[in-house]
């Protein structure tokens, strides 16, 4: 309501019914979005509460062993697996994404940029499971000769970074090029070379925008299930090396939900809640300055 009051003078000028409908539509979508997220929290929380109340949960929750049929529900190995694979994949994808975006924004000719961005959009549309299958049937057989069984962190993070890269580049590019034309012109007239202009002016100025793109990428990485599931090996353990199998939280939900019953089932809902909380923590770590 406050918003409406502050807009009063403007409103009187063009207060026709089309505007009203438009505003109503915006409010409705906002309400739906907030309500949807709230519903997910409430629903997951309700299902997970059954698990949290059970004595088995508190006994084994922070352990490594996950054997639902023996009433052992340790989630730590999976949390570590999820965090590790996302971290490693961003470590690979982020430098490439930043460099590609800088090239697209400032060094390539406009024609090339259009073509490259178009093909990137096409790549972003590749279903992630296809990338996972590529890893499973092409990368793994080659690596399995040298590092059997080869399933594990390295291949999974590589596949995941491949899934992330196209949209990451597009996002970073969008964050970098908005309103940089005046900066570039002023820089040129001062005789500053484009590379140092980018390094010293544009990148520092855009730091928090870039961070936002990174967080978006990380959120997507946490959500990616199938591509990782296909190449992770999915054994529940703390991976001791790059070629050691591991399991992510979402992989457990995908693998076990269709057969889970009772406490096992609510434990899987609790895993979903953990995933949601992980992404929320990430969002708050990113800071609120861009709100």
């Amino acid at each position: 309501m406050k918003l409406g009051e502050s807009r009063q003078p403007e409103r009187k000028m063009r207060q026709n019914w089309r505007d009203r409908i438009f505003e109503f539509w915006i409010d409705l979508t906002r309400l739906l979005a907030c309500g949807g997220i709230l519903c997910i929290f409430v629903f997951l929380g309700k299902e997970a509460l059954v698990f949290l109340k059970a004595p088995e949960a508190s006994q084994s929750l922070f352990q490594l062993a996950w054997f639902p049929s023996e009433n052992r529900f340790g989630i730590m190995a999976m949390v570590v697996g999820s965090v590790l694979v996302v971290g490693l994949s961003l470590l690979q994808a982020w430098p490439i994404a930043r460099a590609s975006a800088i090239y697209l924004g400032f060094f390539s000719s406009p024609r090339t940029s259009v073509w490259l961005l178009g093909s990137l959009q096409l790549m972003a549309a590749i279903p992630s499971v296809v990338v996972g299958l590529f890893g499973l049937s092409f990368l793994l057989p080659i690596l399995a000769v040298y590092f059997p069984p080869a399933f594990g962190l390295l291949v999974a993070s590589f596949v995941l970074s491949f899934v992330l890269l196209p949209s990451l580049i597009i996002n970073v590019h969008a964050m970098l090029v908005i309103d940089t034309d005046p900066l570039l012109e002023v820089g040129k007239s001062l005789g500053i070379s484009t590379p140092s202009l980018i390094r010293k002016v544009i990148l520092p100025q855009r730091r928090r925008f870039l961070r936002r793109a990174l967080i978006l990428g990380a959120g997507r990485a946490f959500g990616e299930t199938l591509a990782v599931l296909l190449v992770a090996g999915n054994n529940i353990q703390l991976p001791k090396g790059l070629f050691e199998p591991f399991r992510t939280l979402n992989a457990t939900i995908a693998l076990e939900m269709s057969y889970a019953q009772g406490l096992h089932r609510s434990a899987l809902f609790f895993l979903g809640l953990c995933l949601l909380l992980l992404v929320c923590v990430l969002r708050f770590l990113a800071g609120r300055e861009n709100a």
Partner: protein
């Protein structure tokens, strides 16, 4: 105007649907094993098509729930994926299908037969290299099924293992993923349903099934009784059966029902 017409129209439509359906509908509730549920749901669909006045509701919850619901009269038929035990009391079990598992190796592995004891040692992680069994000098990669899968349950039951006894290096979900995993790993050993194993062994795939205690896992071998890593999947019924339930049991055992059993990769009777 238009909207009110729509509302009135849909009200009339739904109302008429409701009243006609309520006339002579017989409801059957089935509950129990999640292994059987997909099969029974398919058979139920076919049965409903033939008998328009019967409606089946298939719920999962495990074999023991199927039995206890049956005794308490909460369902009309229970579904169980294990043989009846003496302590189950006076219930009637009618097998409608079977399922079994076959062990699979990568094609490059020269071994082709295991004893049950060797299988247990492999899956317990006591055999680390195929050399120890006379195979190639290759690390053993144990491929196990994810918790809750029916094949895992059967495997553990047959070899009397606990889930935590199995020292797996890779965990897989469905059969297709399992076969791909074994195909891409020279040292892998895993298990899949017999029908999937038969399909995969045909053609030029990278996997092969292995004999267990000398018996080759094929549908024929199961039908002849020479391959024993199988279990019956049955419908159970307590007390007096509804005519529709009796009809459903007969339909499931009929050639038409058994054809569905085969098409869904279970082994017919």
């Amino acid at each position: 105007m238009k909207i009110s017409l729509y509302i009135a129209g849909s009200l009339i439509l739904w109302g008429s649907l409701g009243s006609s359906a309520a006339a002579s509908l017989q409801k059957l509730t089935l509950s129990g094993s999640s292994t059987l549920a997909p099969l029974v749901s398919e058979i139920a669909k076919a049965y409903e098509k033939n008998n328009a006045n019967v409606q089946l509701d298939v719920q999962t919850g495990g074999s023991s729930k199927g039995l206890s619901d049956c005794r308490d009269g909460l369902n009309d038929l229970g579904m169980i994926s294990r043989p009846l035990k003496p302590e189950d009391g006076n219930v009637r079990a009618v097998p409608i299908a079977r399922d079994g598992i076959a062990f699979m190796l990568n094609k490059t592995n020269s071994l082709s037969s295991f004893t049950g004891e060797q299988v247990v040692r492999i899956f317990r992680g006591e055999i680390q290299n195929w050399k120890e069994l006379g195979g190639p000098d290759q690390k053993v990669v144990v491929v196990n099924k994810a918790e809750g899968r029916a094949a895992l349950e059967l495997f553990l039951q047959h070899f009397k293992l606990k889930p935590s006894d199995v020292k797996a290096s890779l965990i897989i979900g469905d059969e297709e993923q399992g076969l791909k995993t074994i195909a891409s790993n020279p040292g892998a050993i895993g298990y899949v349903a017999i029908s999937s194993a038969e399909l995969a062994s045909q053609g030029n795939s990278q996997v092969k099934s292995v004999a267990l205690d000398g018996a080759i896992p094929t549908t024929d071998a199961v039908l002849k009784g020479s391959y024993t890593l199988v279990r019956p999947l049955s419908l159970v019924q307590c007390g007096k059966a509804k005519p529709a339930a009796e009809g459903f049991i007969q339909f499931a055992s009929s050639p038409e029902g058994q054809k569905l059993v085969k098409s869904l990769n279970y082994i017919p009777l």
